[in-house]
Amino acid sequence: MKADITFGQYCEGNSLIHRLDPRMKIVLSILYIVAIFLAKGVTSFALLILSAVLLVGLTGLSPAMILRGMRPLLFIIVFTAVINIFWMTGDVLLVQLGPVKIYLEGIINAILIVVRIVLLIVATSVFLTYTTTPLALTDGLEQLLSPLKKLHVPVHEFSMMMTIALRFIPTLIDETQKIMNAQKARGADFSTGSLLQRAKALIPILIPLFISAFRRADELATAMECRCYTGGEGRTRMNVLRSTAKDWLFLLAILLLGTAIVLLNTYFPLYGLTL
């Protein structure tokens, strides 16, 4: 039995965004997040929504799937919306039920905050989680941060750790499953009893799992040494990350978007966000 899991939520694809340089995608997502936080007025948010729709379209992924990915955050979204509706005061009173007053500003604020959260999720999904494999992300991060090596930050070591972790997670999940089955065959019960009892039942799984993981680590270290691994120094890579014209075009587009948002904020905000 093989555990077939994709980490994060990477979706196979060959779209323009899938093929962007992972380093650029990390930079783009940071810039896009900055742009989202810069937006204050209704107009700038409208522009952001437009760009987000365009980006999702470019990934070729189904929008429904991206929306479904937000389900875990639904509570936070609803919670912030409700707080804004009931606690915001303003000039235009819409409804008054006893002590509860709802203002137009509150509603607009709530909508804009919800849009902001949704946009943040869309931005990271479009640039990172859905279109970039964790391995590419690790490579991208290593190369982006490589100037820090001069400051003795162990960038290569961290990236190697991530690579190995990504490699062994499915193996260890398989192994956990096997150990659980073996313990079940001996009469272990993982699904009933109090929380404490269930936690205790996990000990006979964790101990063999840890022992085996240490043995694997030892063997892997020997194998890596045999393959002449001596750390990051003097190492080359088969796949060199390359930025092409389209990467820089995307960067330009995001910078233009940011500028447009600042301009809209100043000259044509419509309703301003106060938070």
Binding site: T163, R167, R216, E219, L220, M224, G234, R235, T236, N239
Partner: protein, 293 residues
């Protein structure tokens, strides 16, 4: 034709340091041998006889306590030997381990094959070329972009072999690389190992428990309690099944059958390791015995 020894070991000893409760374990005791370049050698021995320890010494993962070890003519036990010399020697000798999972580093097949070359600092374009060629050679080209996790044990071992090929190593040690595989996977890995030896002239050292695999080698070294018990061609080593059984080892099933027939009074050769050859020999012997009457 006289070939140079790629490995020359003289009186190697090695002990694992014991901890507070246990004494040091003497895993290798006065081991001497030479391995010719381009040869195919099998190492046999029961569990704990020191085979893996020897392999790790040859890969320079462990260092001998005493004795001399020459790899490609270079004395690596010389007191003046530098880290660079050891690294250079390690380039030439690769190892394929028993557990296929615990030697794969990357989560994409071709990245794993490239790992060794990347460590050597080879330029990217050259690595690309070597990796594609190595994958082709072990017949794994169509899995280049898959995750090793979803491959069979035999396929994973072939990935490891591709890694060795891509590094252009002169010698590869298989440390019970077929022990965890099903019969098909075993066949796969053995075929690849044979091809490596016959077609590319890579020196192969095969540590195994399967006598049928050992019988394919040019030479067999039998280890017992850290010492070399026997050393010779398969015909020589298997000519005395009783001695092998005494050492807790087996002989190929064909040899065992022929030996039993010989004990029963049939005049047969023992050194036939192919099932068809064995059957033919028995048929011939029976015909001869009938004809003699």
């Amino acid at each position: 034709m006289q070939k140079n020894p790629i490995i020359k070991a003289e009186h190697l000893t090695f002990s694992y340091p014991g901890d507070s409760e246990s004494k040091p374990v003497r895993a290798l005791d006065d081991v001497s041998f030479e391995i010719e370049e381009g040869s195919f050698t099998a190492i046999l021995g029961h569990n704990g006889s020191g085979k893996s320890t020897l392999a790790k010494l040859l890969c320079m993962v462990n260092y001998p306590d005493s004795g001399k070890l020459f790899l490609c003519g270079k004395d690596l036990t010389d007191p003046d030997v530098t880290d660079e010399d050891i690294l250079a020697a390690r380039r030439d000798i690769g190892m394929v381990f028993q557990n296929p999972d615990n030697q794969i580093v990357a989560s994409i097949v071709e990245e794993d094959v490239a790992f060794g070359c990347e460590n050597l600092g080879i330029p990217s374009a050259e690595i690309r070329k070597r990796v594609d060629q190595a994958l082709e050679q072990v017949g794994m080209t169509k899995h280049a972009r898959s995750s090793p996790h979803n491959l069979s044990g035999g396929q994973k071992q072939r990935i490891a072999i591709a890694g060795v090929i891509a590094m252009k190593r002169k010698c590869v040690i298989f440390d019970e690389s077929t022990a965890m595989l099903d019969p098909l996977g075993r066949q796969d890995v053995m075929n690849t190992a044979m091809k490596l030896n016959r077609e590319d002239g890579i020196t192969v050292i095969l540590i195994t428990h399967y006598m049928s695999e050992a019988a394919l080698a040019d030479r067999i070294i039998v280890m017992d309690h850290g010492k070399i018990l026997r050393d010779g061609t398969p015909s020589e080593v298997f000519s005395d099944p009783e001695a092998m059984w005494d050492a807790g080892l087996d002989v190929p099933q064909t040899t065992e059958l022929l030996y039993k027939m010989r004990q029963a009074g049939l005049d047969v050769r023992l050194d036939l390791f192919d099932v068809n050859d064995c059957a033919a020999e028995i048929a011939r012997a029976i015909k001869r015995a009938r004809g003699g009457k």
